[in-house]
Symmetry: C3
């Protein structure tokens, strides 16, 4: 039996998929929350050594992006978004709800990120942090971390 196992097991990679939901309570109308630690923890929990991680937020007024966690830069981003897609812009959607600007900024930022996983961790660069962009808070928000790969 031991020989049989040995002869058939190696060609099969033990590929698996893992999912974790992260809950974040945001504190302001617009806010960029560093969720790197939570996402890295999810990848470690998955036990997957080599594969791909998808970081996804299931809302229409949030975004996901990668960049440096520096206070001045986060303020700069807030100002750039306000200049490109102003909070008050005479939007048609504001007749339904008062957050058209938040939807439009979410479309520009995107809600999904695909990253390589290697040696059991995310292949983040030295200055890269993972951010949830709250664009219509404060609210409770969710981020899904889906990891697919092999041990």
């Amino acid at each position: 039996m031991a020989n049989v196992k040995f002869s058939v097991y190696p060609p099969c990679n033990v590929m698996r998929a893992f999912l974790k939901e992260i809950f974040i309570r945001t504190g302001s109308r617009v806010e960029f929350v560093d969720i790197t630690r939570e996402v890295e923890e999810a990848v470690r929990e998955s036990g997957i050594r080599s594969g791909v991680a998808i970081i996804f937020t299931p809302h229409t007024t949030t975004g996901i992006f990668l960049n440096e966690d520096e206070g001045g830069l986060k303020k700069d981003l807030e100002r750039v978004l306000e200049r490109l897609i102003p909070g008050k812009g005479g939007y048609l959607h504001d007749e339904v709800d008062h957050n058209a600007y938040a939807h439009l900024r979410s479309i520009i930022l995107g809600v999904s990120l695909a990253m390589p996983v290697e040696n059991g961790g995310l292949m983040l660069g030295a200055w890269q942090s993972i951010f949830l962009a709250e664009l219509d808070g404060p609210r409770g928000r969710r981020v899904y971390v889906k990891v697919i790969g092999s041990d």
Copy 2:
């Protein structure tokens, strides 16, 4: 033989990859087509229960994004794109072809989306729809749905 199978089969996940091409005929120059139903159908057809779906458009004047399917908001997005990247902008590429604005908007929106698949379906939020952005129509367009995961 039965015992042998039993002893080696369980560690192997039946991971598979599935591809579907979706064809969309757009009706105007700029248009945001809700393709959620078609993409969800592709994921169901794949038979994959847990994994990742990639939604990808192979054109240089289309985009893929997620947001709410509300008429006013779609008009707002059209106006925002026209303000940020005007149809007529004295672009150099317009000497080659007359659609530089459509290429530039495609770069800003992006052409690819990665999403978690769980329980045989996309993990879309309550208000999220999947859109193909037609930026230089009307034309016949393609979207690829690639699903990778296990039964």
Copy 3:
């Protein structure tokens, strides 16, 4: 033994993950480098026939996008980025470092791309090229190509 192998091997897909790092030396402050050939080569090297490729840059002042490799269009994109997020914008991050504009443009362009792989190659459209956007060069830059799928 041969029979045993035959009876258990077919249900197991030989799913694998492959990683390649690409190094690029950029030549100017802002530059869009066509890396299609290098990424396609990585996918071929992987030997994976059907699956997903993740193209990821681990920097905070670069971006990844897909579009047409045409000289005029690349110049148009440079001008659009300069208009939307000017090099000199009185940014707070410029008190720490002098490249806030490059971080902000990276956030707008994104640093990750997920693509379907089929028949051993990327499913690129006829006019699509893969670009690394250098936003604060010239420098040595890295791009990771992670491929996951089956032979």
